[in-house]
């Protein structure tokens, strides 16, 4: 049980890193995620079914996600549509696109087909205990993504992206077009979300058009849990770690809710309500935490 909780947390953790980039680094609340997650799943599954190499399929899923993000950014930049609405537009359009990609079906199973996961399992059988193969694999994948992001955000371009989320005027004053930066950032964010969707589809054994429903809420809740658990820091490595840790915690809670919720007469459909309430509680608690700090400071000052 513990390994499947961790695996789930790590798969969705890649999506949480994407949400972290758009919501926290860029300060661009991007709802495209609900569409780019199943987009990644659909692309991955369809590519695998044609017999394509798994890693190439993953690359295509990533590219698809980037394209979805770029569409949102272009709608926002060129038509001056508020970012929330631009994301909703793309997300809505992606619903149709995803069904088309899956060959006019809402669900495509891939259970008996070779996937990246079956390949990895095959290779590692005997080296690592069977139960932990996927855990080790996803731990490696999630950490690789995290480390690559950490490096990226220490480059000049990455730092400028961070500055834009802080202060758009500063970026303009540096002679950089903020529209270009937003396109890059939102594209990267959705690329990661699509990768997460691609892995989720292989793990679950199917791609489904409804896979992304409410995923943005889960992502945001995970980011907030991560921020709540770990101390505030300005080091990108700590922040991305928080996002991953938050994801693991959040999906652990959801897992428990799904499998043991019946004991308190909870049904799986109640989970969305729980997610929403969880976010509200976190918001309240963060406010309280800040308040406490301020109160503490003023006492010290006296």
């Amino acid at each position: 049980m513990i390994e499947s909780i961790l695996v789930e947390g790590l798969i969705y953790g890649i999506m949480v890193l994407g949400v972290f980039i758009s919501f926290r680094v860029l300060d661009f609340p991007d709802l495209t995620v609900d569409g780019s997650f199943p987009l990644g799943a659909a692309l991955m599954v369809q590519c695998l079914l044609t017999g394509m190499n798994g890693w190439l399929a993953l690359l295509i899923a990533f590219a698809g996600g980037v394209a979805a993000g770029v569409v949102t950014a272009v709608i926002h930049n060129q038509l001056r549509v508020p970012n929330l609405l631009a994301g909703i537009l793309t997300m809505t359009m992606l619903y149709s696109v995803n069904i088309r990609i899956m060959g006019d079906r809402a669900n495509v199973p891939i259970l008996k087909h070779e996937t990246l996961l079956t390949q990895v399992t095959e290779k590692l059988t005997g080296i690592i205990p069977d139960d932990y193969i996927l855990l080790v694999f996803f731990l490696l994948v999630a950490l690789t993504v995290k480390v690559l992001l950490d490096i990226f955000f220490r480059t000049d371009l990455g730092m400028t992206l961070g500055a834009m989320g802080n202060n758009e005027q500063m970026v303009i004053s540096q002679g950089v077009n903020p529209k270009t930066l937003k396109t890059i950032g939102v594209g990267l964010s959705n690329g990661l979300v699509a990768i997460s969707g691609a892995f989720a589809a292989q793990y679950l054994g199917f791609a489904d058009v409804g896979l992304g429903q409410g995923i943005i809420v889960s992502g945001l809740a995970s980011v907030m849990i991560g921020e709540f658990l770990v101390l505030k820091s300005n080091r990108i490595g700590v922040l991305t770690f928080c996002a991953l840790a938050g994801s693991v915690c959040f999906y652990a809670v959801m897992y428990v809710g799904r499998y043991y919720g019946y004991m308190i007469h909870m049904t799986p459909s109640d989970l969305n309500l729980i997610k929403g309430i969880l976010i509200i509680i976190l918001l309240v608690m963060t406010k309280f935490k800040k308040f406490k700090k301020v109160a503490f400071k003023s006492v010290v000052a006296k």
Binding site: T155, L157, A163, N166, M170, Q174, G175, V176
Partner: protein, 265 residues
């Protein structure tokens, strides 16, 4: 260097709220000029800066930089050679990033690529430059700017702007939001940097004695026009009283009103 030809700005053109913010401005800024600009609220000082910087595009007229037309260039393109400091100290820096990251971002103008420029040598260089501010910031390079005071941030913005070597700097009442002591420090630093690096600069101020004390040229604005332009020795001979008299002479307004309009504090 920079030249405005017959530039006009009209807000809400064709509506009842039509507002002529700048009317037929002709201005030639020469290389090495340090121009101070005074005028009452709504005189068009900030609009003039916004027009030069490209935040707003003129309704009419031409803007030339080194004889090249830039009238329609967006703000971010012009920012490659124009440095600007705003009244709000938080506008020039990123609050949730460390001091050294901020300096790295502003060190070079233009689009940034996937290079990692912040290394030990850069840090050493930044530390050396920070010493000039004499605020002890060189020991706080890893701290987020949200921890710094307005005066420190404004001084830092000034230093970062000077390091990026702009051809023209625009100072939009950049000391107005600071307490008197910090305002004094930042103003002194401004004068020092401008003199040392021989920067072409324009400074808006509400303080008439500052306008007279600093720079080699003075512009007085009212109702979207430059009504008085004086430089060199003639400017040196100016006093606050003479300036108010001049305003009275030019605009035929009552003296009592002028004091409040030009607010010499």
């Amino acid at each position: 260097m920079i030249e405005l030809k017959n530039v006009s700005i009209v807000f809400n053109q064709g509506t009842v709220n039509e507002n002529q913010a700048l009317s037929n401005i002709d201005l030639k800024v020469k290389e090495g000029d340090f121009i101070t600009i005074i005028g009452s609220n709504g005189a068009g000082k900030s609009t003039l800066f916004n027009t030069i910087a490209g935040t707003i595009l003129p309704s009419d007229g031409t803007i030339l930089v080194n004889d090249k037309v830039v009238t329609r260039d967006p703000e971010y393109k012009r920012a490659k050679y124009i440095g600007r400091i705003f009244q709000n100290p938080t506008l020039g820096t990123a609050s949730n990033m460390s001091l050294e990251d901020n300096m790295m971002i502003t060190y070079k103008k233009g689009f940034k690529w996937l290079k990692r420029s912040l290394n030990a040598r850069m840090r050493e260089f930044f530390r050396g430059e920070l010493v000039q501010l004499r605020m002890g910031l060189e020991h706080r390079m890893k701290e987020n700017l949200v921890m710094f005071s307005g005066g420190q941030r404004q001084a830092l913005t000034l230093l970062m702007m000077v390091l990026s070597k702009p051809a023209l700097i625009l100072l939009d009442e950049h000391t107005a939001a600071l307490d008197p002591k910090n305002a004094e420090i930042v103003l002194e630093l401004t004068d020092k940097f401008i003199k040392e690096s021989r920067l072409t600069s324009m400074m808006i101020t509400h303080n008439m004695s500052h306008a007279i004390e600093f720079g080699n040229r003075l512009l007085m604005m009212d109702k979207g026009e430059i009504i008085f332009d004086i430089e060199g020795d003639a400017k040196k001979a100016l006093t606050v009283e003479k300036l108010i008299e001049k305003f009275h002479e030019l605009r035929h307004k009552s003296f009592e009103n002028d004091r409040t309009l030009l607010s010499d504090d």
